[in-house]
Amino acid sequence: MQRGDAGIDETQTLAAADGSRPRRPRRHGPVFARSHARVCAVNWFKRHGKWLIISPPLLYLLVFFLIPFAFALKISLADTALRVPPFTDILSVTPDSHIHFTLNLGNFQYLFADEVYGLSYLYSLKTAFFSTLVCLGLGYPMAYAIARTSKSTQSILLLVIILPFWTSFLLRVYALEGIIRENGLLNEALLWLGIIHQPLQIMRTTLAVYLGIIYTYLPFMVLPLFATLEKLDHSLLEAAADLGSPPWRAFFDVTLPLSMPGVIAGSMLVFIPAIGEFVIPTLLGGPDNLMIGRVLWDEFFGNRDWPVASAVAIAFLVLLVGPIALYQHYSTKQLES
């Protein structure tokens, strides 16, 4: 508290020191002599004071979000060892004070040699791609419908969409299991209606993984789409109609191109996390649904092979940087507009 007060006083004194705005000192008591040192300190504060605001979050994210990637890179170049932590040092000093510098590229070679990594990465890409497509097909009309309602309905509908978005991811996957398992609601209903005569096996199949991703990521698609569709200038559509364009034509000529930033931002928000999905393939998928997140988890906790797991993470990250950069590009564009 006191420190904060001191800071504010300094800036106030500065205003007076500049001579621009003479004013009474706020507090009673002895007026400090404006020594040269104090003016210097105040000037420093004025020039660099903003760093007191910028540096805490910048340093925190730097140390605990960005620098960890450097550690992952370092450990991906180490060797597995039977000790705690389970990897060797890259730099080591021998008793006769020689510094040993060992880089082990074997982990990365291993990623190419063992096809499980490549296959699971491609499988994750495929799963994420088709789920994104379905989310887009379902989310676009939803966002468009919300954008066309009145302002007050919009805020209610948005809350309806946002609520599951914040509700526990794990619990929603679990809730879905209650619907699609062998004696779940879906099978019971279909049996009761006489559409099927024996329960469908959905759990532990690829279909369950798709359903899980679509169900949990749908809000991520709807929200950015809504944000662009809401801003759409309606007079453009009216102009198209006046010039004789049928509604579907106007949609493809006007609405869709203008909503492209939302389509891309929403698709990225679904696609990128879906590639690394771990919970859904583990809880809903079968043994065939080896997505990269699951492989990574098993490598880490099952095999305790941290260097290989780090190498998988680094390779995965490098392959992700492109899509992430694309997402950043479009999201900043959206923010600016």
Binding site: P57, L58, P68, P141, A145, R148, T167, E177, P219, I324
Partner: protein, 276 residues
């Protein structure tokens, strides 16, 4: 915007909302099912809820998760607000691009990668500094990182709409910039700060993957306990627990939404008053 929504669009919207809510409603329904066989309806009961109160493992985990959530959201709101102020008010500083990137990246970064890299950092730090030991501390540090990103984005969009004329007036009257901000702008930010806090709290409470990586022996958060139970299949006491969490989180989000909406209305009202 038109008021009439084409029926086809409306039906897709209803279908989508039904897909989002049906599983949750069914889950809550099952949590009151007296039969321990999940497929058979055996009448209403609340016994699964009372059983939870006697399950020490779940109570401990719930308490740990709540403690973590409170510490994390408080720290994340402070750091995230500072980051938002930096990004909105200081247009040019070294590291601005870096900060923007680090704030946006956690939103799309697969949790499993964040979790692994953070664990590797903590392990190396423990090796060198003998701190932090894996458990409460490491979970808090890891959660603060991604919650800060979410808070920054919320506060950033709120700060961009702030009318700065009051703050400028305060500075003209001799307030220092910090004082002017605290006296004029901050009170208007309270609803947004509260909702950021609540949202960070739910994010921290929900996190499974990052916590699993950075946690150590003996520190199991609620999602970690639920995950190990759920892997064994659907069970009625997990239904009850899940319903409770969903209700609590739902209440948090509704409150956050209400606060945001009220502050927005207040802002519009103020703007109208200012024009008159």
């Amino acid at each position: 915007m038109q008021d009439r929504v084409p029926p086809l669009l409306l039906s897709v919207l209803c279908l989508g909302i039904a897909i989002l809510y049906l599983p949750i409603i069914v889950l809550i329904g099952y949590s009151f099912n007296a039969s321990s066989l999940v497929s058979v309806w055996g009448g209403l009961t609340t016994s699964w809820y009372t059983q939870l109160l006697h399950n020490d493992q779940i109570l401990d985990a719930a308490w740990l998760s709540l403690e973590i959530g409170v510490v994390v959201s408080t720290a994340a709101v402070i750091l995230g607000t500072l980051a938002a102020i930096s990004l909105v008010r200081f247009k040019n500083f070294r590291g601005r691009l870096l900060l923007t990137g680090m704030v946006n990246a956690p939103l799309v970064m697969p949790e499993i990668i964040t979790g692994i890299t953070q664990l590797l950092l903590f392990v190396s730090m423990l090796h060198v500094f003998a701190w932090p030991h894996r458990g409460f501390t490491t979970i808090v540090i890891a959660h603060v990182a991604f919650c800060t990103a979410y808070v920054t984005i919320t506060m950033q969009s709120r700060l961009q709409t702030v009318d700065r004329s009051l703050e400028e007036a305060a500075m003209d009257l001799g307030s220092g910039p910090v004082r002017a901000f605290l006296d004029t702008t901050l009170p208007g930010l309270v609803p947004a700060l509260t909702s950021s806090w609540l949202l960070s709290f739910t994010l921290s409470l929900d996190d499974l993957v990052i916590s699993s990586f950075v946690s150590g022996p003996g520190a199991s958060t609620l999602p970690m306990v639920i995950f190990s139970k759920v892997k064994l299949g659907v069970s009625p006491d997990v239904n009850a627990l899940a319903s409770l969490i969903i209700a609590a989180v739902g209440a948090c989000v509704l409150l956050a939404g209400y606060l945001m909406r009220r502050s927005e209305q207040q802002r519009l009202k103020d703007a109208q008053l200012a024009e008159q």
